[in-house]
C-alpha cells in the first residue's frame, strides 16, 4: 500500500518533471537553443566522429569565438530595444585600418590597438547619440553607418586593402597555449570570448543591466522611474562597437586582411542573438542565450561543411533561421 503510493508519487513527479522539461525545451528561450546546439553537435559527431576530439573541438571554439563576441555586443543593443547593423562594416574597417597603419611593424601594434579602440568607441557614440538624441530609428542610423564605413574604407584603400598585420597583433586570433604546433592547445580566442561573456553576465546583473532590459521592455516606464534612457541605449551602442573592435582583432588574427573581411557579420550576429531567443524589440533574453545562439549557428555551418554543401547556401539558411526564430517567438507570445 505504502510502496504503491510512493511509486505513484514517484511516477507523478517523473511525469511532472518530464512536462517541465518539455516546456523548457519548447519555450523558445535558452533551453531550446541549447537543445538545438546539442542536436547539431551530435549529428556532426555521428557524421564525423573525429569532431569529438579535443583538437577539433578547440578549432571549432576558435572559429566561433569572434561570433560569440559580436553576438554579446549585439545582445546589449537588441535587449535595449534597438539594432546595430554597423558591426560587420566596423570589423572590416578596423582590420583594414590596422593593416594599413602598422604594415607589419611590431612596434606599432599597441598604438594601433589604442587607435582602434578610440575609433570603435567613436562609431558607437555616433550610433547611440544619433539614435537617441536625434531620434533616428537605429535601423536607419546603423544602416547608414554600415554604408559610410564600407564606402569610406573603399575610398581610402582604392578597393584593395594594403599592408599587413603585425605578428603580435595576430596572436590572439591565431595562437593558443601551450604553444606547441600540432598539439592540443586552448586558443586565446576562446579565452577572450569567455572573458567577454563573463563580463557581460556580470554587467547584466548590475543596476545598469537591469535598467537596460527594462528600457527595452518599456522605455516610458523606465524613463518615468528616473532612468536616462538615452544614455542607457548609447552605452549599449558603445559596448556593441567596443566588442566589434575586439572581434576585429580576433578575426584579423585568424583570417588576415582581405577586402571581404567582416562582410555579413552583422546579420550573423543578429541571427545568433535571435536564435538565442532574445526578443527583437527588447526586454527579454540573456547573455548566455545569445552566446549559445552564436555557437548553434556556427555549429550549423560546420555541419553544412561536413555535408559538403556549398558555402553559398549560408545566406539562405541564415534567412530562414532568422524568420523561423522570430516566428517561433511570436507564436509563443500569442499563446
Amino acid at each position: 500500500m505504502t510502496t504503491g503510493l510512493s511509486q505513484e508519487t514517484a511516477q507523478g513527479t517523473a511525469r511532472g518533471t518530464a512536462r517541465q522539461w518539455r516546456e523548457r525545451l519548447l519555450s523558445g528561450g535558452s533551453w531550446t537553443v541549447l537543445a538545438l546546439l546539442v542536436v547539431v553537435l551530435v549529428v556532426i559527431v555521428v557524421i564525423n566522429p573525429s569532431f569529438a576530439e579535443p583538437v577539433s573541438l578547440m578549432a571549432f571554439a576558435k572559429k566561433a569565438a569572434p561570433l560569440v563576441v559580436l553576438a554579446v555586443g549585439q545582445y546589449f543593443v537588441i535587449v535595449s530595444g534597438e539594432f546595430d547593423l554597423s558591426v560587420g562594416s566596423l570589423v572590416g574597417a578596423q582590420v583594414v585600418i590596422a593593416a594599413r597603419l602598422m604594415d607589419g611593424d611590431e612596434a606599432l601594434t599597441w598604438p594601433v590597438l589604442a587607435l582602434m579602440l578610440v575609433f570603435g568607441l567613436l562609431v558607437g557614440l555616433v550610433n547611440g547619440l544619433v539614435t537617441t538624441l536625434l531620434r533616428v530609428p537605429s535601423f536607419i542610423t546603423t544602416l547608414g553607418m554600415m554604408l559610410v564605413l564600407f564606402g569610406a574604407i573603399r575610398l581610402w584603400t582604392g578597393g584593395a586593402p594594403t599592408g599587413a598585420l603585425s605578428e603580435s597583433f595576430r596572436v590572439l586570433g591565431r595562437k593558443g597555449f601551450p604553444d606547441v604546433p600540432g598539439q592540443f592547445q586552448v586558443p586565446y580566442a576562446l579565452l577572450v570570448a569567455l572573458v567577454v561573456v563573463g563580463f557581460a553576465v556580470l554587467l547584466m546583473r548590475r543596476p545598469f543591466g537591469r535598467s537596460l532590459v527594462a528600457a527595452g521592455d518599456n522605455a516610458v516606464a523606465t524613463a518615468y522611474s528616473g532612468a536616462p534612457v538615452w544614455w542607457l541605449r548609447t552605452r549599449a551602442f558603445l559596448l556593441s562597437s567596443l566588442l566589434a573592435t575586439v572581434a576585429a582583432v580576433l578575426i584579423g588574427g585568424f583570417a588576415g586582411v582581405t577586402a571581404q573581411v567582416g562582410q555579413g557579420l552583422e546579420f550573423m550576429a543578429i541571427t545568433a542573438v535571435v536564435l538565442g531567443g532574445v526578443a527583437l524589440g527588447g526586454g527579454r533574453g540573456t547573455v548566455v542565450a545569445a552566446m549559445v545562439g552564436a555557437l548553434a549557428l556556427e555549429a550549423l555551418f560546420t555541419l553544412f561543411n561536413q555535408l559538403a554543401l556549398p558555402s553559398t547556401i549560408r545566406p539562405a539558411v541564415q534567412g530562414v533561421i532568422i524568420i523561423v526564430a522570430v516566428a517561433y517567438a511570436a507564436r509563443r507570445r500569442r499563446t
Binding site: 548590475r206 543596476p207 545598469f208 537591469r210 535598467s211 532590459v213 527594462a214 521592455d217 518599456n218 516610458v220 516606464a221 523606465t222 524613463a223 518615468y224 522611474s225 528616473g226 532612468a227 536616462p228 526586454g283 527579454r284
Partner: protein, 526 residues
C-alpha cells in the same frame, strides 16, 4: 419650444431604441439593463461621472462593442452591428473625441474618404468638391471650403468636419463624445449652431458631456448613468442642476475608508508626531510645507498655487482633461512647468526630468500602470527596484533588500513575495501590479508622493491596501498629493481638495466636503 412642436405633431416613432442593454469586460459588468430611446429631432444628453459607462454605451450604439444582453432596434426592427462601418451604413454615426481625420488632405477628401466619386477610374474632383460644397451649404457652414487642408483648420472646425462626414452618410443618428472638450469658449458657438441645424433636419443626437451649462443649453432629454446603471431619463426642463449632480454622484461607500488618525486608535501615532510638530494639534494641522507651487504653469495648466504639508493628503479633483495629471507631470518633470516657482522642503527647485524629481525625493505613481508604471516582462523584484537601479545604483543592492518587507506591508501574497525574483509582473492581478508600482517608490523613501488614480481598475482589497498605505505615509510625515476621479475617495481621504477646471484651480474645499459641492465646482455649475 419643443412642447409647441409636440402640440402640432403626434409623438413621432423612435428612431433608435435600446432595451435592457448590458455589457461585461473580463467579468466586470460596465453596463446593466440600459434602456434608451432616441427620437428624430431630439438632442439627448448622456451624463455621468468618469467611468459611469457613457463611453461604453456610445460604443455599443456605434457598433464598436456588441452588447452581451438586451437588444437594439432601429426604426422598430432589431439590428446587430458587426462593425462600426455597418452602423455607419445604417445611418448611425459617431463623432469620437479623437478625430479620425487626415490632416494633410482637404476637407472634401476627408469627408468622402474611401468612397470618392469616380469618373473613368479616377477621382472626380469636380463632383467631390461640388458634393462637399452642397453639404457645407446645407449646414450653413460658410467658414469652411471643400479644398481647405484639414490640418490648417481650428480644432472646432475639425470637429465640424467630423460631423459633416457623419452627415454625408445620411446619418439619422449622430452621437458625439464630449464634442466641446477640446474647444475654446468662443469656438463652442459654431458647434451649438450646427447641433441646432441637425436637430431641425430631424437628426437624433446623442450628446455626451460633462459640462452642465452645455447640457441645459442643448438637450431636450437627459439620461444619467452611474456605475453602469441607468439612473434617470427625463425632459431637461424637469431636472434641476442640483438633482442632476446628486443623481450622478450619489453612492453608498460608508465604512470603506480607513478613518483619519485623529479620530481612531492611531491617535497614539499622531501623539508621537505632535512632539515634532511643535505643539500643533496632531492629526488636525500637519507639519511644514513639503511641496509648494506658486503660479506654476506650462502649455497645459496655468496659475497653479498649491501647498502640500508633511503628513497631509491634498486631493486634486476635476474632470478628465481639467489638468490634474498635467500638474503631476509638471511637478515630476515629465512635462516641466515653464512658469512660476516650485519648492521642495522650502528649497526652490527646478525639476526638468523625472530623474531630477527622484533626486529631490519626489515620487509619481502614474495613472496608467501598464504603459507608464511597469516593465511587464520583468520580474516583480526587477520592477520594485527599478527606481533604485536607475537613480541610485550604488545603494541599489543594499536598499533592494527592503523590497520583500515593503511588499508584505502592502499585503502582497506571501507566495508572490517569495517568487519575486522569478515571476514576471504581467502575470499578477491589477491590484498586485499596483502594489509593485507603489513598492518601487516606497523603497526610495520619498518626501512627496503623487498618486495619480491609484485605485483605478483594482479590486476592493487592493484599494483598501492603498488607502491604508496613504494613512501610514502621512503618519510618517510624507506629503501626499492624490489625483482621483473617484469622488468618495477624495472626500474620505483628503485633508483639502483643490478643484481644477480647464487647467486652472477653480477653488479649494476643506476635506470632507460633499461630492455635490466638488462636482458643482468641477463642472462650473457653482
Amino acid at each position: 419650444m419643443r412642447a409647441d412642436d409636440d402640440a402640432h405633431t403626434p409623438v413621432p416613432d423612435p428612431v433608435l431604441r435600446l432595451r435592457g442593454v448590458g455589457k461585461e469586460f473580463f467579468g466586470t459588468s460596465v453596463l446593466r439593463e440600459i434602456d434608451l430611446t432616441l427620437f428624430p429631432g431630439q438632442v439627448h444628453a448622456l451624463v455621468g461621472e468618469n467611468g459611469a459607462g457613457k463611453s461604453t454605451l456610445m460604443k455599443v450604439v456605434a457598433g464598436v462593442h456588441r452588447p452581451d444582453t438586451g437588444t437594439i432596434e432601429l426604426d422598430g426592427a432589431p439590428v446587430s452591428f458587426a462593425t462600426p462601418l455597418d452602423a455607419q451604413r445604417a445611418g448611425v454615426a459617431t463623432v469620437f473625441q479623437e478625430f479620425n481625420l487626415l490632416p494633410d488632405r482637404s476637407v472634401a477628401e476627408n469627408v468622402y474618404l474611401g468612397r470618392e466619386p469616380l469618373r473613368r477610374g479616377m477621382v472626380d474632383r469636380r463632383r467631390l468638391h461640388a458634393d462637399t460644397s452642397r453639404l457645407l451649404d446645407d449646414l450653413g457652414l460658410t467658414s469652411i471650403t471643400p479644398w481647405t487642408r484639414v490640418g490648417s483648420l481650428s480644432v472646432a472646425q475639425q470637429q465640424v468636419v467630423e460631423i459633416v462626414k457623419a452627415v454625408s452618410y445620411d446619418a439619422r443618428i449622430i452621437s458625439m463624445d464630449e464634442p466641446t472638450a477640446a474647444l475654446a469658449e468662443q469656438e463652442v458657438a459654431l458647434l451649438y449652431e450646427l447641433v441646432g441645424r441637425l436637430r431641425d433636419r430631424g437628426v437624433a443626437i446623442l450628446y455626451v458631456s460633462h459640462r452642465l451649462q452645455e447640457i441645459y443649453d442643448l438637450a431636450d432629454t437627459i439620461t444619467v448613468l452611474k456605475d453602469g446603471n441607468h439612473m434617470l431619463t427625463a425632459p431637461a426642463a424637469e431636472v434641476s442642476p442640483d438633482r442632476l449632480v446628486r443623481t450622478m454622484v450619489g453612492r453608498d461607500f460608508a465604512g470603506f475608508f480607513p478613518d483619519k488618525p485623529a479620530d481612531t486608535v492611531s491617535g497614539e501615532l499622531s501623539g508621537e508626531l505632535s512632539g515634532e510638530l511643535s505643539g500643533e494639534v496632531a492629526g488636525e494641522v500637519p507639519g511644514e510645507v513639503r511641496l509648494a507651487l506658486e503660479g506654476a504653469g506650462n502649455s497645459m495648466v496655468d496659475g497653479i498655487d498649491l501647498e502640500v504639508r508633511a503628513g497631509e493628503i491634498v486631493a486634486l479633483a476635476g474632470l478628465q482633461g481639467s489638468g490634474r495629471t498635467e500638474i503631476a507631470h509638471g511637478v515630476f518633470g515629465i512635462a516641466p512647468f515653464t512658469r512660476g516657482r516650485m519648492t521642495v522642503d522650502g528649497q526652490p527647485v527646478r525639476v526638468r526630468t523625472p530623474r531630477q524629481g527622484v533626486r529631490h525625493r519626489l515620487a509619481l505613481v502614474t495613472e496608467d500602470r501598464k504603459s507608464e508604471g511597469l516593465a511587464l516582462g520583468q520580474s516583480v523584484l526587477a520592477n520594485a527596484r527599478l527606481v533604485l537601479d536607475a537613480v541610485l545604483p550604488r545603494a541599489s543592492d543594499r536598499r533592494a533588500r527592503g523590497v520583500p518587507g515593503v511588499l508584505r506591508s502592502l499585503a502582497v501574497p506571501a507566495s508572490t513575495v517569495a517568487s519575486a525574483r522569478d515571476v514576471e509582473v504581467q502575470y499578477l492581478s491589477g491590484g498586485n501590479q499596483q502594489k509593485v508600482v507603489l513598492a518601487k517608490w516606497l523603497v526610495t523613501e520619498p518626501r512627496v508622493i503623487v498618486l495619480d488614480e491609484p485605485t483605478r481598475g483594482i479590486d476592493v482589497g487592493a484599494k483598501r491596501a492603498v488607502y491604508d498605505l496613504m494613512r501610514t505615509l502621512t503618519a510618517e510625515g510624507t506629503a501626499v498629493l492624490l489625483i482621483s476621479s473617484e469622488l468618495p475617495e477624495v472626500v474620505a481621504m483628503a485633508d483639502r481638495v483643490l478643484v481644477l477646471r480647464d487647467g486652472r484651480v477653480a477653488g479649494e474645499l476643506p476635506g470632507g466636503s460633499d461630492e455635490e459641492t466638488i462636482m458643482a465646482l468641477a463642472t462650473g455649475a457653482a
